[in-house]
């Protein structure tokens, strides 16, 4: 069940005040979160009932709005996905992005990973969605296909990292292990 929050104000870059029902909560934020906030607020105000707020406006759904650490990695991709029409592919791709984000939260304990680049999502003419994560010396991609059994991933690197070329199919059974393995590679080589 989704909790509904109402934005009251952003008093400073570090603290966002939100209210749930009548109780006001302060949410401590990492210094880079507000950038994500603005994008997420912009998007969700569009779909929200703006009559509910006189300040910033809008009813925001928790899963999308309550920013978790590293949400900045996936926010642009999620915004791009939400402009696409094939809802089943969008749903698969969105879930994958949350798995990546949550795996980074889990795996990144003790690391400072705010330097990581954001993932991007692209609509492709063949009906698939490409989620890509690029670095100077390698890139990781996930292709979410109309036939979900054909969805695949890849990791490729340049000569500096040994011309790695790896790919495979994505399945619900292996996705968590796959993502953790890829994140391990990212942390080791970025």
């Amino acid at each position: 069940m989704l909790d509904v929050y109402q934005v009251e104000s952003i008093k400073n870059p570090e603290v966002l005040n939100i209210s749930s029902g009548s109780s006001l909560q302060n949410l401590q934020c990492y210094s880079y979160w507000p950038v994500v906030f603005q994008e997420e607020i912009d998007r969700f105000i569009d779909i929200a009932d703006t009559s509910k707020s006189s300040t910033i406006g809008g009813v925001i759904y928790e899963r999308h709005f309550i920013p978790r650490r590293y949400s900045f990695l996936i926010s642009k991709a999620i915004i791009a996905l939400n402009s696409m029409s094939n809802k089943s592919i969008v749903s698969e791709a969105t879930n994958l992005l949350y798995i990546i984000r949550d795996s980074i939260i889990y795996f990144g304990v003790g690391y400072e990973l705010s330097y990581l680049p954001a993932l991007s999502a692209f609509k492709v003419d063949d009906g698939s969605v490409l989620i890509e994560w690029i670095f100077d010396d390698f890139r990781i991609g996930f292709s979410i296909e109309p036939n979900v059994d054909e969805s695949s991933w890849y990791l490729v690197s340049n000569e500096k990292l040994g011309d790695i070329g790896a790919s495979g199919y994505i399945s619900r059974n292996n996705i968590n292990n796959l993502v953790l393995w890829l994140i391990n590679f990212v942390i080791a080589n970025s």
């Binding site: 642009k76 991007s120 692209f122 609509k123 492709v124 003419d125 063949d126 490409l130 890509e132 690029i134 390698f138 890139r139 991609g141 292709s143 296909e145 054909e150 695949s152 890849y154 490729v156 690197s157 340049n158 000569e159 011309d163 070329g165 790896a166 790919s167 495979g168 199919y169």
Partner: protein, 149 residues
């Protein structure tokens, strides 16, 4: 692969910014091979131009389709050495190639194709496309070009 008849770079047109990251980096799907481009000789083709001379970049940037610029987001410049290196890797192992193929009426003397074997499965094709995108040396747009000249 020894290709003394080919220049150092090929030029891949970018139809629009849907093929770019926000910072202008090339996204992998620019280099996808499409099923409808499969040929009877066992290869799928994707069009490129060869940078045979100094005019090739301007020629490519000014190519038109239905009266409009065909490559509104510019071109990706891909060294031929990168294609060769990808093709030599164990996971690719010779399923890539390239050719020079001038268009009918010789309207485009620079035209050629990057080729991929027809029997390469889609997931592998996308991995290879990612390697090609990673191998891109730089992007050049018409605006960039005009500032240079």
């Amino acid at each position: 692969m020894i290709n003394i008849d080919y220049p150092d770079n090929c030029l891949k047109g970018i139809p629009n910014r849907d093929f770019l990251f926000g910072d202008g980096t090339i996204a992998t799907h620019l280099f996808y091979f499409e099923s409808e481009d499969a040929r009877e000789d066992g290869w799928k083709e994707q069009s490129i131009n060869w940078e045979d001379d100094e005019s090739a970049i301007d020629f490519t940037l000014n190519q038109k389709k239905d009266g409009d610029l065909q490559f509104k987001a510019g071109i990706a410049i891909l060294p031929r050495k990168a294609i060769d290196r990808i093709n030599r890797s164990p996971m690719v192992n010779g399923v890539l190639s390239y050719e020079r193929k001038r268009t009918e009426n010789n309207h485009n003397p620079y035209h050629g194709n990057i080729l991929l074997k027809n029997d390469v499965i889609k997931s592998k094709m996308k991995q290879i496309a990612a390697s090609l995108a990673l191998g891109v040396d730089r992007r050049q747009s018409k605006v960039d070009r005009e500032q240079i000249t």
